[in-house]
Symmetry: D2
Subunit: 341 residues, 4 copies
């Protein structure tokens, strides 16, 4: 069985394990106050063109989301996102557990539109309702789509005007930035948001997300909040080392490109056989629609999840990663071909 179930089924790119092994017995200060983290922070500031940014390394995405949002919001404030937003559905109420309402809007192809933000903003008129104060988007989105530069600029302008913080969840940022339809650079991302993160877990690291805070309001005392929520890793340099490796010689983009290339093979093959997709994804998550019989056949050799079950056909989710093997993509297509005959 080969798994297209997610992009965190394997460990880390070998360079990362090698760097960990090489430095294993060197003593380091704890909790991210070490030379590796210092260097990784500097590299990321340069890479993102945001020399005054605060950069923090956090083990996982849910932690990063909940800490960032709970730091940004006062108790009566809320965050706007799309209904499929990871924080709205797949974090077991982590945001609400910090005391904040998530205001979910339908979205369009998984993306939040300026109109929806205005609608949410204007609906909440007084102290009997929560006060929207942050916008959360994911790039790439939960259904594989991605924001264009024009779209992100429009969100940015609107958020500035309404005094809303714009937070971009970049758990799969690499895949978005290296897709064939992308027109955003990581510098654009930094310039057009108030805080965002560069996902490592799904991009070749063992674990780790690099949070980049550019808005001055969100910087003070951030490490207090990290510690309180259990997110100051004792051996914090393990995070620093991984981001040093990822952002040396473009490894991060190289790995993300590989994931996209593998998805391209799958997508084109599937499309050529006449199947359609739930969403127009050019990133490492694909959502083809297959009849039950086809799914049953595929499940004999591949692991993947069912996104939406309909009567006699379903949307499945196929995820590629830095570690996905091309021959397995090709094998998937050949199995699919047998179903289609």
């Amino acid at each position: 069985m080969y798994s297209f179930n997610n992009d965190y089924s394997e460990g880390a790119h070998p360079k990362i394990l090698e760097a960990m092994t090489r430095t294993n017995l060197v003593q380091n200060g704890g909790y991210g106050l070490d030379e590796h983290c210092t260097r990784a922070r500097e590299i990321i500031r340069q890479e993102t063109g945001s020399k005054d940014a605060d950069v923090h390394f956090i083990v996982g995405g849910t932690q990063t989301n909940l800490i960032t949002i709970a730091t940004a919001l006062r108790p009566w404030q809320a965050v706007i996102c799309v209904a499929q937003g990871h924080i709205n559905v797949h974090e077991t109420g982590a945001i609400e557990a910090t005391g904040h309402k998530v205001l979910a809007m339908p979205g369009k192809e998984g993306k939040l539109t300026p109109d929806e933000i205005i609608q949410a903003f204007e609906y909440h008129t007084d102290e009997h309702m929560v006060q929207p104060k942050m916008v959360y988007i994911s790039n790439s989105t939960e259904i594989g789509t991605q924001y264009s530069k024009a779209e992100l600029e429009a969100l940015h302008r609107l958020c500035r005007e309404k005094e809303l913080y714009l937070f971009l969840d970049g758990a799969r940022l690499g895949s978005a930035l290296t897709s064939t339809v992308n027109d955003l650079s990581v510098k654009d991302i930094a310039a057009l948001t108030d805080v965002f993160y560069i996902g490592g877990t799904k991009a070749g690291a063992l674990f780790g997300e690099a949070l980049v805070i550019t808005h001055p309001d969100l910087k003070p005392d951030f490490r207090f909040m990290m510690k309180q929520r259990g997110a100051l890793l004792a051996k914090g340099w393990l995070l620093g080392i991984q981001f040093e490796e990822l952002f040396t010689d473009g490894l991060y983009y190289e790995l993300a490109s590989h994931a996209n290339d593998m998805a391209d093979i799958l997508r084109e093959g599937i499309r050529n056989m006449g199947y359609t997709f739930f969403s127009p994804s050019f990133t490492n998550q694909l959502f083809p629609i297959f009849p039950e019989s086809v799914i049953n056949t595929l499940q004999k050799e591949f692991i993947f999840s069912i996104q939406e079950k309909e009567e006699d056909r379903s949307v499945i989710r196929l995820v590629t990663s830095w570690a996905t093997r091309q021959e397995e993509c090709e094998h998937f297509l050949s199995v699919l071909k047998t179903c289609s005959m």
Copy 2:
């Protein structure tokens, strides 16, 4: 200017103020441990046919909702309600502030359907998502509609089957129970829910809601939670006195009937002039749809809120109460008539 803005624009029924004045200098124990509360609890147990119920008196509805829900749920559990649910919209995120997600479903005429509960329940499959554990409904609802006995029985059965607590917000229970289309008794309400409350604030009291807990899981240590959330009123007997008065000689139902009678006058008058309504309400909240010009004229003499603004007409909300004067209802209709000519 006469106000149809809400059902809490006046003080209390005179009998209540008289009882408070009569007992004013008698010493009482604090925090609801006094003879008035004891007697009021007993009266309510009899009235609701639930002799083993725990009865607590709380100053306001938001407090009652947040304390009840936060007591019932474990940290990862969520409450299902309709999108218009008071807890979802008009409590400034009070439930989320206790750490719990509100799962809002569209509803039908302001009422939650069994199908929607099943849908919400089945959507949440594992530990990556919140766990639905309570259903919150209002009777009458936020848009004036009300549950029939058959509807409440269906919800009750489903909740039992799925091990969901059923919580009924009765801020306007009196109006529901005395409406012309009602087929539920307060004993039915007690038998078909796990916890519910009888609203006093909108029904002739100065303030106060009587919470009736019938499910044994929800009873232990409830007063700890009340105290922690600031809901143990020091002079708790003030709550006891009010419910003693309301449930002596049927005052509660009499006052609610008056509110409904006034709403009936308004509704029939408005309908006869050819206007339609946003929802089919037979309780003390009406939602007629008027052109802007009509609304402008009415606003010169009456206070009411705009529920939903559309292009050239809007839904307004008219609320009657135990204190509403019949001549003001008639005057409203006469002003409306001038608009319609």
Copy 3:
């Protein structure tokens, strides 16, 4: 049985009930946005000499404490108080339930000293510990003592220097301000704190605390927080009316003086019989130390609480109020006298 158990055993001063009765059927806007509250706010601004203060009316003390503290603090911040502080012991963890640690210091005669604040402040050095940001004191204190002007000035100076908010719980402020040893005015209180409240519940109102916010950081969006925690009373004018009455013609001080006068009678009588006190109180709470046998005799005719049980003697708490009858104080002393013979 006559109760010296607390200062909230009776209803309200008759003027308050009369005012409520007089205005009972006048329509008012909800949630504190009415003319009575507006007028009461203005009266309190003048009384406290703080013309720019925000004034809010809240039903009870625990609500007032938790809302004020949770509004002032960011998630990782803590509040310093004495070990006996109401928020530390007698609010069922209400402050912790909003997410904040209470840093309890021993105190001296129930009062927090500058040295203790410095100690707590300096102990918390980095992001592995909470960040002290507020100081909470009560005046009069939980054991009946009170701050002198010099003491409050010293706390004020220190808090300014350390950028700590200074919050004064004035549930029993009237008793402190009218005691024979007081040298503080309510204007001093306003000038030397960042936020404080004037207690009504224990001072002749049915219920209600008037919160006075002078520090600009603590003002924005305060009503959002009140609503979220269930503290926007629907019929908010009931609070406004009470404070209008209390601060017309000095009723508030008159009632507090009466309570102190009654305590003076008790204190002097007890002292003259040779008993000692747990704390040097000149306010309406006395803590005499009696042998068990004396306590047993007193308990046959009077209700009071045991503060601290020791081997063969205990500290009891006697509380007088605006409603305490002089003849009952004298009767208490005469019963005590029989024990002592």
Copy 4:
């Protein structure tokens, strides 16, 4: 500069890195539902003699503490610990941030005594105060001391009697279990507590704590809470692999013994030069008391923390680990010797 600053200054025992490298490209299921975790759970159940225990792997100690405590307690309940307890001082209010009060008692040599638990339990008498429901202890403690079997049995009996959950923080359990004065086995620990954890971070793992839940009340839905607090590691097998290695061939105990051996060298050397200690530790944390001049000299070559500053001498903290080199301990003593001449 050599660091005795903590026991998490180096990476992991080489066997752990080798196992990670060996399995790096094998696909695994996410979130701890993989074969390594399954096997590690089984090994730990056998090792601890608790075949029905639920075992969860969590990245760090603060996360483990806050999740365990917040799962065990209802909103109004509190946890008892010693004043120095990690949860009371060094987790930035993580427990309070979940809504619960920490009831800190003085302790004796860093250990909680049955008398203190009784005192805390009896002090909290009604719904105006929090309800103690859990006892938190650390073994070894924050100041290097450890519980004897008799002491743990006494705590266990008392907790059973009072219906308090007993939770043991085993961040440094290995050091306690292998110290020369220990008389407890890990099976005893499991039998005498309701939930405890075996620390990996400070015992040769890169990171990770193995939580062992034996009390049935604490088991249901635990993974929901883990997910909500961001503690379900995507590549969860990394935790499983580490505990597989640690509990194969006794590596865990071997590494802990080494840390203790190194501490023994330091302790005996320091003692022989006539210095005294703040606490009687036989584990890997030592708290010698040195004059300032000695500390200044030592700081030129070694990194360590100052535990308590006094006038002209201070308590310092020296921590050894699985990776501590014997020659550095000897060098420390030789430098110390030069100071003492």
